[in-house]
Assembly symmetry: C2
Homo-oligomer: 211 residues x 2
């Protein structure tokens, strides 16, 4: 199997959970403000677990897509995922694009499954994280390949807090994961993903980004 | 609507059919031996019809995917699409990737539909041209976007000959379309797409590539 791996807490837990079976971890650089920081974090864990890790650049997203998550977009809004303002950080069909590319790579290298770490907390704001999308995309990938590549999305109906608890089981150092949309050295603590991260990691050790 | 446009005969007929409604034509450069020739042909028609036309580079496909259609692959096999050897020219999940990217662009620019020119002759060899794939991908795109972007695939159950007859209705100059997998100045006449093209255009004028 191969994994779509950002270096954030969700996909890092997924990386540890399936580590012995993962043939390749793929980080996508789609021109967001935080892709470089995420990548540093991702490198730390793939290197520790000795998993082959590549970075795939998708510069056309920053050039052609509309989203404040991108370098070409406006300021990152502050607040909770449920807030309407968060919609401006959505990168249209990002998961569809990453899954499609991962699907083609999977078929090319003889891997049957693509791992992705979307979870129930993403459903409100991201249409391409919902079960309806994952179900249809899974069918599209299976029908569209000779080897019937399919999606493994084990966190689909789990909360971020449940993922965090699972991460503690693997003794993950949270300070070595990164997700802040601002892309600065430390997590800003006030953007959508930081708010969500703080809630999920409440009471744990090493929850700031300290690399 | 936007169109995935190679510059081959099928997508050129589709371009003419929906020209007044097309906001953007996208040519993908995925590192195949014939992408540059296709692009010249595509430029000719989008320029003639005054349709905005962009080229999106996907260099990771040539670097990471396995297919003899790519510059990184082996020699192009000769023969008919039905031949087993043709399988080696399949670029894994190419339509899934192009549709996903087009879907994200469509949502970014406020277009609701993505046009694609797959047809019944493609079904034998390309899993991501079949009705089952198009149906599932259509659902994935609609579920995965706020604006429910969807696929328009009007040639899905048409033969290439029927598409060619429709193209004559639009007075398309076939010599200004390109599809040969070899990517030389003239169509080779013996690769899978050339064989199919010759059969479809039999008895018509200007069927060679002469730009």
């Amino acid at each position: 199997m191969i994994i779509i791996y950002s270096g954030g807490m969700d996909s890092t837990v997924l990386l540890y959970k399936y580590a012995p079976f993962i043939k390749l971890a793929i980080s996508f650089d789609y021109g967001s403000k935080h892709n470089d920081r995420e990548f540093e974090a991702a490198q730390y864990h793939t290197s520790k677990l000795e998993i082959k890790h590549i970075r795939v650049a998708l510069p056309f997203i920053n050039e052609l897509f509309k989203s404040d998550l991108l370098k070409s977009g406006g300021d990152i809004p502050k607040g909770h995922y449920q807030d309407l303002s968060m919609k401006q950080t959505v990168v249209p069909f990002r998961n569809g694009i990453m899954l499609s590319i991962a699907c083609g790579i999977a078929e090319s290298i003889g891997a049957e499954k693509v791992l992705i770490a979307n979870h129930s907390g993403d459903h409100t704001i991201y249409p391409d994280c919902r079960p309806t999308f994952i179900g249809a995309m899974n069918e599209a990938m299976a029908y569209g390949t000779y080897t019937n590549v399919n999606i493994l999305s084990p966190f689909l109906n789990m909360s971020k807090r449940e993922i965090a608890l699972l991460g503690n089981h693997y003794k993950i150092d949270w300070s070595k994961t990164y997700s802040c949309y601002e892309g600065q050295d430390l997590h800003c603590g006030t953007c959508g993903t930081c708010v969500e991260r703080k809630e999920a990691l409440e009471g744990f050790d090493n929850t700031q980004y300290l690399i």
